[in-house]
């Protein structure tokens, strides 16, 4: 694969990038913080055996004007990428978001509007060369509205809906859209929260995501157990959802 990873310096994106590096994929890294990007690029290079260069460019999800140039840099370095992975996003607990509306605004922009814009840029490029794979990280929180994730969940619900539509519309033209819906994963994003049952580790999640990318699976819950957890939660009647606290 010639893969562009947005958000590969941390968490699940980092684990996925390492798997790709060890497989021998060509990688280009997008994100914020030059120092951090350089460190992660070196990490991927060394895990790939030290022979393949890993390039990077700054791409800030809060500044959509950076998207075009970042993808230009990726295209130039990889000679035309065929896979784009988007793992960047913001997270905040419901309490924090309710209190801090400025942060809520940032989160809604980053997780929904700007992620969609980035995907639109990537989609055009991939379609212009006959297709490819666009893999974006949404969340199980977008499947049903729940009390602890009203705002975060709403941003992810919007993203999931967009990604589903993209897949319906463009799969026949060769663009495979893959929606990843992680359950609780023990990354630095969730550090300090109490892990529920079936919490996953980023490395395990990355393996499942890579399999989904290679197979073209349209929707992938991960860790796998969450497929069944969410099957139940999606069918819970509304009056039940209103009563339960999770």
């Amino acid at each position: 694969m010639k893969v562009v990873i947005l958000g590969g310096t941390r968490g699940m994106g980092r684990s996925l990038g390492r798997l790709c590096a060890e497989r021998g994929d060509e990688i280009f890294l997008l994100g914020i913080g030059q120092d951090d990007l350089q460190k992660s690029a070196t990490d991927f290079e060394q895990r790939g055996g030290g022979t393949r260069k890993v390039g990077w460019a700054e791409c800030d999800m809060e500044r959509p004007e950076t998207f075009e140039a970042a993808l230009d840099a990726a295209d130039a370095a990889l000679g035309g990428f065929d896979t784009v992975v988007v793992t960047a996003g913001l997270f905040g607990t419901q309490e924090r978001l309710e209190e801090d509306l400025a942060f809520t605004q940032r989160l809604l922009y980053v997780n929904f509007a700007n992620t969609v814009l980035f995907c639109e840029h990537a989609r055009r490029r991939l379609l212009s060369r006959g297709g490819g794979t666009l893999c974006a990280f949404s969340s199980v929180a977008g499947d049903r509205a729940r009390k602890p994730v009203v705002l975060y969940g709403a941003s992810k619900a919007g993203l999931s809906a967009y990604l589903e539509g993209l897949d319906h519309k463009f799969r026949s033209q060769g663009l495979r859209t893959i929606t990843i819906k992680p359950g609780f994963v023990k990354t630095s994003m969730t550090e300090g929260l109490k892990p529920p049952p079936f919490a996953g580790e980023p490395d395990g999640v990355a393996r499942e995501v890579l399999r989904a990318i290679l197979k073209g699976t349209p929707v992938r819950y991960t860790p796998f157990m969450w497929t069944f957890v969410m099957l139940v939660i999606r069918w819970l009647p509304r009056f039940v959802m209103r009563r339960i606290g999770f």
Binding site: S188, E201, G204
Partner: protein, 447 residues
């Protein structure tokens, strides 16, 4: 699951070392140690030290967990110098670099440690008589000191801080990044020979004489058998196999099993351990065995059983590892083995190793002499047993290894190690307000 996450501890409330003694506190893991070390009192890696080295001093609540900060920041194929974030697990380093024929110059007896932890403990291994401790090969360190500064230190720059950090148990600063010189190896296989040895005297003599021929030596000892059989055991020697004699390809890696639950405390006692020791000794019925083995099997035999510390039950285990100077090595070791018999306890795995030159780390454990490591199931009288063992250590001018220790009394430790005041002086210089501390430092140094 990743290697590092598999190696993490059971999640009971509080924090514990490998010996399973729990103290209050939580761990917050971070990918950005430079940011999250601010205001923290202690960093911890995989929690493989046995006692209270990685546990919080009373009243402190949050330890910085380093295991998510595990990036490789640079490697120079020409010189072999590697730069990593402190939370990188040694198992991961081995997995990535063994195929490229580079290996850590010094490895402890488990690969489930972080590189930062290897610096903080200044670990040693089977090649100590040749390669010294890990610290000898460390080129530079990036630290967040107790006063909050980021300092890059080495033998040339901020020397005092650097040397106090090698073996300094994380008390001189949060270790954020490590540069270390890797060793080029001729093949990814170990050639090993093992000998059945009938007595302690012969074992100690063989460790010395074989140490001159072999770069790696270590001995397992039966510390339950008495009389003439005392200290009988198996001597393992080895070296990296040369390219032309080594088996083809890479070692496949070994299957691991997991100890699924805690065994009842007390199941491992002098009687059962005696049987186990006789079986181990008896199973080496040939006088000598030779062959090529996977480095994992050679360096980390116990890593094949995940959570093997659960075998000691909920009460757990303490380890007593001491070094006795060569002049009185045999007497000292014999006295300690007799102490165990006298107290009616026993060590499940007892390891003897002859150590070479002392490292330049200020609190580095090994010095020329014989090291004896005893795994002791915790019982009501453990403190007394440790005190008696320590009395022997002091009498013979030896010292104990802080990484294994959870019970040594402050006066005993001070009597063993005259370097402590100098260490405390350097620590104070970079941390005048005493921000960095652990349960162990509180116990031994009062701060």
């Amino acid at each position: 699951m990743s290697l590092a996450s598999r190696a993490r501890q059971d999640q009971r409330p509080g924090l514990s070392g490998w010996g399973r003694t729990y103290l209050p506190g939580v761990e917050r893991r971070s990918e950005d140690l430079a940011r999250d070390s601010v205001g923290k009192h202690l960093s911890r890696g995989l929690g493989r030290s046995y006692g209270d080295s990685s546990l919080l001093a009373k009243g402190d609540q949050v330890a910085l967990g380093t295991t998510l900060a595990d990036r490789i920041l640079g490697f120079d194929e020409a010189t072999g110098v590697l730069r990593v974030e402190a939370g990188l697990c040694l198992a991961e380093l081995n997995r990535l670099f063994l195929p490229r024929l580079w290996f850590t110059p010094v490895t402890p007896g488990t690969k489930f440690v972080t590189i930062g932890g290897m610096v903080a403990s200044d670990v040693h291994g089977k090649n100590h008589h040749v390669n010294g401790t890990f610290g000898r090969h460390v080129r530079s360190l990036l630290l967040r000191t107790g006063s909050g500064e980021l300092v890059e230190c080495s033998r040339e720059h901020e020397t005092e801080l650097f040397l106090a950090t090698l073996g300094g148990m994380g008390l001189t600063g949060h270790i954020l990044e490590v540069s270390v010189q890797l060793e080029k190896i001729p093949s990814p296989w170990i050639y090993t020979e093992s000998y059945r040895i009938d007595s302690l005297d012969e074992m100690l003599a063989r460790l010395k004489s074989d140490g001159e021929k072999w770069p790696m030596t270590v001995a397992w000892c039966d510390t339950v058998a008495g009389g003439k059989k005392m200290g009988r055991g198996i001597l393992y020697v080895g070296r990296w196999a040369t390219a032309d004699e080594a088996p083809r390809g890479l070692p496949k890696g070994r299957p691991t099993i997991t100890m699924p639950f805690s065994l009842p405390s007390g199941l491992l006692n002098r009687f059962t351990i005696g049987i186990f020791n006789s079986l181990v000794y008896g199973s080496h019925f040939q006088k000598v065995k030779k062959g090529f083995v996977d480095p994992d099997k050679y360096f980390y035999p116990l890593d094949s059983i995940q959570h093997w510390n659960r075998g000691y039950g909920k009460r757990g285990v303490t380890q007593h590892q001491s070094i006795i100077p060569n002049e009185s090595g045999a007497t000292g070791l014999r006295a300690m083995i007799e102490t165990l018999a006298d107290a009616g306890t026993a060590s499940f795995l007892s390891v003897v190793k002859d150590c070479g030159e002392e490292g330049d780390g200020l609190l580095s454990f090994p010095k020329p002499g014989m090291s004896l490591a005893l795994d002791l199931p915790i019982r009501d009288d453990s403190q007394q047993v440790i005190d008696r063992l320590n009395a022997t250590v002091i009498e013979h001018g030896g010292r104990v290894y802080l990484t294994k220790d959870g019970m040594t009394r402050p006066a005993d430790y001070a009597a063993m190690d005259p370097r402590v005041p100098e260490f405390l002086r350097v620590r104070k210089k970079y941390d005048p307000e005493g921000q960095l501390r652990s349960a162990q430092s509180r116990r031994l140094f009062g701060e």
